[in-house]
Amino acid sequence: MQNQWSAVNSGPLTGWGRYPVVAAKTVRPENWSAVDNYVKNANSDALIARGMGRSYGDASINDNGYTILLERFDRFISFDNNSGDLHLESGVTLDEIINVFALRGWFPAVVPGTKYVTVGGAIAADIHGKNHHRDGSFCNFVKAFTVIVASGERVLCSRQENSDLFWATVGGMGLTGIITDVHMTLKPIESVYVEKTEIKAKNLDAVMSLFDEHEKNYQYSVAWIDCLARGNDLGRSILMLGNSIAKGDERIKHLSNPLSLKEKRQIQVPIDSPDWLLNSFTMGTFNSLFYAKQMSNHHEGIADFESYFFPLDAIGSWNRLYGKRGFIQHQTVFPEETSREALKTLLTMSSENGWGSFLAVLKRFGPQDGWLSFPRPGYTLTLDIAVKDGLFEFLKELESVILNYGGRIYLAKDAFLSAEGFRKMYPRFNDWQKVKAKYDPKNTFSSHLSQRLEIR
């Protein structure tokens, strides 16, 4: 008989942002009894689940025990074509769901900016998409799931049954156990096309009133902000709105199948590129949008779901575009009341100190359940920041400013938040901790992130 940890891959491991790097011991089980054994025999080793490793920071890495890859648990269990109810394993990616079900007229109800995430990762980070203001987060479409908890027991949980574990696992960053099977609901679609409207805004106040005015009429909304704009132009941006297109629509009538997403070729980025490459790529796109149609402030068009929801997926391993030292993505959300002032301060801070992030993404969230779920009503701002000297100090300063405005940092993208800051940002952590103590008293499930945030 082979030893429990015999097939271990030892080596450096990171999140998508390639910072920080840890010396990891990784296992990749292919049957559930192997996972059960890892959990039952963990002893003092820390365990953490990993899906596609698309979280940016240190959520799915662990230098204290083992990282368990779940990518080979990618099987569908059943599907009800009348209701859209899908029962599947946690390692299935949104990409696979789309490949199998888009042609049958079904699509994941919430998608992030990449389709290469697993369902387990989507629940653990309770991810949001461009439709959050209307539909809420990923977990709003999850009915139940099974978790292998530290005792090795499998616990089925939902809003009705073992609801404490359900709410602690949603957004719980893998720290309650390993999600095995999931019951979720897909949403019906008539086509894989979106009609999009792009509106220019000369500054932050302008884009915020555009959100107020238009959001209710659109399923999807997000704005790109030019971080180089200062003074009166601060927050200069393009608001991008969208609605799905119905099947009989004139604009897609010429298509033989409105549900078909043609396979696109990925361009691979083979080596680490200089930092300016991505910045000039995204900036170029922004500027061409902003300046091309000087005449009209309003631009309309159609796009397919792939290019609309996952523009960066067209470039494989684009994280290498940020150069060798990696980068971090920094996403915060502020309450409605403080959003305006907070956004102004953050944009000014990042542009004045040359930390840009040449582009930032702005979105407004609606209400959200979930104890450690990131979304809450208000505006959310995402900045990409390259790793360079002085970053740590800058982020410290940023953290205290964010706390002053009552803001919150997204754990799935974080690598720097402090333990105290985390507790202030997530007020329901106390409730969460009780469930953690109940199901994982010895803190078996632990990651670099949870160790940094002193979560146990």
């Binding site: 015999s6 292919e30 559930w32 099987r75 569908f76 199998v100």
Partner: protein, 251 residues
């Protein structure tokens, strides 16, 4: 060969190579049934195929060394399948085992040989007779480049795979006149649970790429296929090293 509506049984379907192959066959319109020793997992794989390809894939229990059960299994699959019967069999099961242990414990050596060779001979004895009588069908056997030359690091496994390849060769010779195709697949290193975390792996192929090569070979009526292709040339070089030199090499 047109795979549409062909009914195929995959043995050892929990292997990633086998699963990728099952998917590749189902994509071509085949009805794929799966068997293996871990029935819980096999059932999941059958369900997955049913959901993805909107077909009724059945799950069966299969133990390589439980020779007596093999004929019953084939009959069961056939009868469950109604008029579809059985058109193809994939032998994907196999076990690397523990070479060091096998050098001192014959039980370990025997288990490796049963999982890679004797078990395959047993099930294929029944399958071959069935296909011969039926006058059509195909057999895909997954051997290995490890069977091309004996090495100190895995010669128990290697010799069982080598024997399996010879067996398939003889079977091909016998069944050719009955219109039955026999393919010997010799993969190099593939990214599966057999190789994950092991030292000394290089040029590791994905299970999907290997599965595509196998289906291509099946459709093109090939007999022996190295996958990825370059292993044919690597093994050619390895086989031409004179024994007095090879004997002293660390491999």
């Amino acid at each position: 060969m047109d795979l549409k509506d062909k009914s195929i049984l995959v043995l050892g379907a929990t292997s990633s190579i086998a699963r990728a192959l099952a998917e590749e066959l189902a994509k071509q319109g085949a009805h794929v049934h799966v068997a293996g020793r871990n029935l819980t997992e096999i059932e999941r794989i059958a369900n997955d195929l049913s959901v993805r390809y909107q077909q009724q894939s059945t799950a069966h229990s299969f133990q390589a060394a439980d020779f007596k059960s093999h004929e019953t299994l084939l009959n069961q699959v056939e009868s469950k399948n109604g008029k579809h019967g059985l058109d193809g069999l994939v032998v994907a099961f196999g076990e690397l085992g523990d070479q060091i242990e096998a050098q001192s414990e014959f039980e370990q050596a025997k288990s490796i040989i049963d999982s890679n060779f004797t078990g395959a001979v047993s099930i294929l004895t029944h399958a071959a007779n069935h296909f011969e009588k039926q006058g059509h069908g195909f057999i895909i056997g997954i051997a290995s480049v490890a069977g091309d030359r004996g090495r100190q690091s895995n010669y128990i496994y290697g010799s069982a795979k080598g024997a399996f390849a010879l067996f398939l060769q003889g079977l091909r010779n016998r069944l050719c006149k009955s219109g039955v195709q026999v393919i010997t697949v010799k993969p190099g290193f593939v990214d599966t649970k057999m190789t994950y975390g092991r030292q000394g792996m290089f040029l590791v192929a994905s299970p999907e790429a290997v599965a595509q090569d196998i289906v291509k070979a099946l459709k093109a009526n090939k007999q022996v296929v190295y996958t990825p292709w370059f292993w044919q040339w690597i093994m050619l070089i390895i086989k031409t090293i004179p024994e007095p030199i090879f004997m002293k090499m660390k491999m």
